[in-house]
Amino acid sequence: MREITYLEAIKEALDEEMARDPSVFILGEDVGVYGGAFRVTEGFYEKYGEWRILDTPLSESGFTGAAIGAALVGMRPVVEMQFADFISCAFDQLVNVAAKNHYRWGAATPIVVRAPYGGNIHGGAFHSQCIEGFFFNVAGLKIVAPSTAYDAKGLLKAAIRDNDPVIYCEHKYLYRRVKDSIPEGDYIVPIGKARVALEGKDISIITYGAMVHTALEAAQALKEKGISCEIIDLRTILPLDKKSIFTTVKKTNKVVVLHEQTKTGGVGAEVSSLITEYCFDYLDGPIIRIAARDTPVPYSAQMEEAFIPQVKDVLSAVEKLIRY
C-alpha cells in the first residue's frame, strides 16, 4: 500500500492498461508532447510514442468519431476531453453513434471518454460544468464518477476493459486534493456498483464525485450533534445501482440526495423518483435534493460558492429532515 493522489491514480490506471494491452491508446488535445492540460499523461509520449498517445486537431467530434471507428475494429481508445465542457462538441458521435451501435447493429464500441469535470476551480461557464446530466438520458452509455483515488484507478481500468462506451467523469477539484492508500498492481472496481462511504443509521446522503467529500465533512459535524449519517457514493451514474439505493433507504428511512450538477432534471431527480416509486412505504419524510443552482457556473468566487452545494447546505437539509 502507498498513498497516491486521485490524479496519479488515473495516470497509473492508464499506464498499466496501456502496458498490459496494445490495443489501448489515448487521443485528445495536447495529451502527447505536452502531457495533457492537467498533466495526466505526462511522460506517456516518451514511453509509448506518437501512435499510442495522439495529439489531435481541435475537433472533439472528429476524434471521438475516430475513437469509435478504431474501437469497431478492435482497439480500446481512451479519449481525453481537455475539459468535460467540450464534450458537447462530440455529443452526436457519443449519443447517436457510440451509444447506439451495439443495440442497433450488434457492434461493440469499447471507448472510454475521460471528462475532467466540475467546478470550485474558478473556471467559469465553460471550464466547470458537470456534464453527466447531458448523457444521463442516453440508453447505451455508461457513466462513472469516482470520488476517491482508489475508485479512480479501479473504475478507469474497468471502463477500459468494458465493451461499451463509458464516460469517465473525473473531478478536477479532486485531482491533487484527494489521496488514498491503494494497493500495488492490478485491481478493478466494477461498473454499476455503489459503495457505502460511511455507515450510519439515521439518515442517508446519496451522492457522488466531489460531493462525497462535502457529505463526509457534514457527517462529521452531524455526528457531534448525535446524528448518524450513511453516505452512499454512487460511483456509477448510469446505470444506477438501484439495489444499493434501496438498501440504504430501507435502513434509514430518510434521504438527502446531493450533487454538484444543476438541480432540474438531474441525476438526483431520477434517484428521488426511483425511491418514491419503489420505496415509498419506507420513507419517513420527503426526499431533499441538494444540487447546484439552475444557472450556468458563475466565475466569481462569491457566486460560485453559492452555486455549488456547501457543507452548510447539507447540515441544514439534514437537520430539517431529521426533525421531520
Partner: protein, 325 residues
C-alpha cells in the same frame, strides 16, 4: 488500368442487383409492406458499386444511405437486406433497425448514422487503427453532397490528412440535399475544392460511369494502402427519385431529370459492354435473370421470416451487461 472482363461483368451484376432490389423495395413501400421510409440510390448506383467493388476483403467501408451496392458487394445477402426492410427477425439487425441502416462487422461494413457525414470520422478511426497496428488495410467513407456541409465531414478529413491515414473519402454528389440544390448548399463549383483545404488530393469522376468510379477508387485505395494518405473522390451524379420514396421531388426541374436519364449508369454500362464486345445481349440478359431470381427469393424469404418479439427490443443494449446480483 485494365479491368478484367469478369470484374466488368460483376460490376454490371451488382448495378442490376442494386437497382432491382431498390426498385422492389420502392414497390413494396408503396404497397404498405415496408414501414417507415424507403431511401434509394436510384440513378446513382454506380457510385456505391464502383467504390464498393474496388475494396479488398479486409478493408472497411463506412457508407451512407445511398450505398446499397456496398452492402451487397461486401457479402450481406439480398435476403437479409429484404428482411431488414420488413422489420423481420432475420434482417441484418434483427428488426432493431430499418431500411438502409445496415451494418455487419463480419463483412467489414459499419452501419450508417442518419446524421450525415458522421461516418467520415468513424471510418477515419478504422484507418487510424490500421495505421497504429501497421496493417495493410484501408477504410473508405461516403456521404452525399448534403453531408459535406456538416462539421464531421471536415473534422474527419482534417484528422485523416494530418495523420496521413490509409483513408479514402467518397462523395456521392447527387445535386440535392433532400430538396436543397447545390447552389443553396455551397458557394463552390466542385465539392472536391473542399478537400484542397485539408491538403487531400481529389478526383472528380463521372458518377454514372461505374468503371470510372471503380478505377478511381482502386487507385486511391492503393495510394492509401501504400502510405500515401487519403484521397477525396467526388462522383458527380443525379438522384433520380425523391429524397425518399414518399417525396415526388417536384422541386427538381423536369429537364434536368430528362438530361440525366440519358446517362443512366446501367444503360451506360450495357452500352460499354456491348460496344466494346466485352459481352453480348444474351449474357447480360442471363445476368439479369439471375438478379431477378435473387430478388424474388429475397422477398419470399423476408415474407416468410418471423417478426421479432416485443421483448427482443430490450435485448442487446450493452455489450457488457451489468451483472445483477
Amino acid at each position: 488500368m485494365d479491368v478484367k472482363r469478369e470484374d466488368l461483368l460483376q460490376l454490371y451484376y451488382y448495378l442490376k442487383l442494386t437497382r432491382r432490389l431498390e426498385d422492389r423495395v420502392t414497390s413494396l413501400y408503396h404497397q404498405g409492406k415496408i414501414l417507415g421510409g424507403a431511401w434509394t440510390s436510384n440513378g446513382t448506383e454506380a457510385v456505391s458499386v464502383g467504390y464498393g467493388y474496388a475494396l479488398e476483403r479486409n478493408d472497411i467501408a463506412a457508407p451512407y444511405f445511398r450505398d446499397m451496392g456496398v452492402f451487397l458487394i461486401r457479402g450481406i445477402s439480398a435476403k437479409r437486406i429484404m428482411a431488414q426492410y420488413f422489420g423481420k427477425k432475420t434482417g441484418v439487425t434483427g428488426g432493431k433497425e430499418g431500411n438502409i441502416h445496415i451494418g455487419d462487422l463480419n463483412f467489414g461494413v459499419f452501419a450508417f448514422p442518419s446524421h450525415l457525414a458522421d461516418n467520415y470520422p468513424v471510418g477515419t478511426g478504422a484507418a487510424l487503427a490500421f495505421k497504429i497496428r501497421g496493417e495493410k488495410r484501408i477504410a473508405v467513407a461516403c456521404t452525399g453532397d448534403g453531408g459535406t456541409s456538416r462539421g464531421d465531414f471536415h473534422e474527419g478529413m482534417n484528422f485523416a490528412a494530418a495523420r496521413k491515414l490509409p483513408m479514402v473519402f467518397i462523395c456521392n454528389n447527387n445535386q440535392y440535399a433532400y430538396s436543397t440544390p447545390l447552389r443553396l448548399q455551397m458557394n463552390i463549383k466542385d465539392i472536391a475544392e473542399r478537400a484542397l483545404a485539408y491538403g487531400i488530393p481529389s478526383k472528380i469522376v463521372d458518377g454514372n460511369n461505374v468503371v470510372e468510379v471503380y478505377k478511381a477508387a482502386k487507385e486511391a485505395y492503393e495510394i492509401a494502402r501504400n502510405g500515401g494518405g487519403p484521397t477525396f473522390i467526388e462522383c458527380k451524379t443525379m438522384r433520380m427519385h425523391g429524397h425518399s420514396e414518399h417525396d415526388s421531388a417536384k422541386y427538381v426541374p423536369r429537364e434536368l431529370l430528362d438530361e440525366w436519364k440519358k446517362k443512366d449508369p446501367i444503360l451506360n454500362m450495357e452500352k460499354y459492354l456491348l460496344e466494346n464486345t466485352i459481352s453480348q445481349k444474351a449474357e447480360l440478359e442471363s445476368i439479369d435473370s439471375r438478379v431477378k431470381k435473387e430478388i424474388e427469393e429475397a422477398e419470399a424469404f423476408a415474407e416468410q421470416s418471423p417478426y421479432p418479439e416485443p421483448e427482443d427490443g430490450l435485448k442487446g443494449l450493452y455489450a457488457t451487461p451489468i451483472a445483477e446480483e
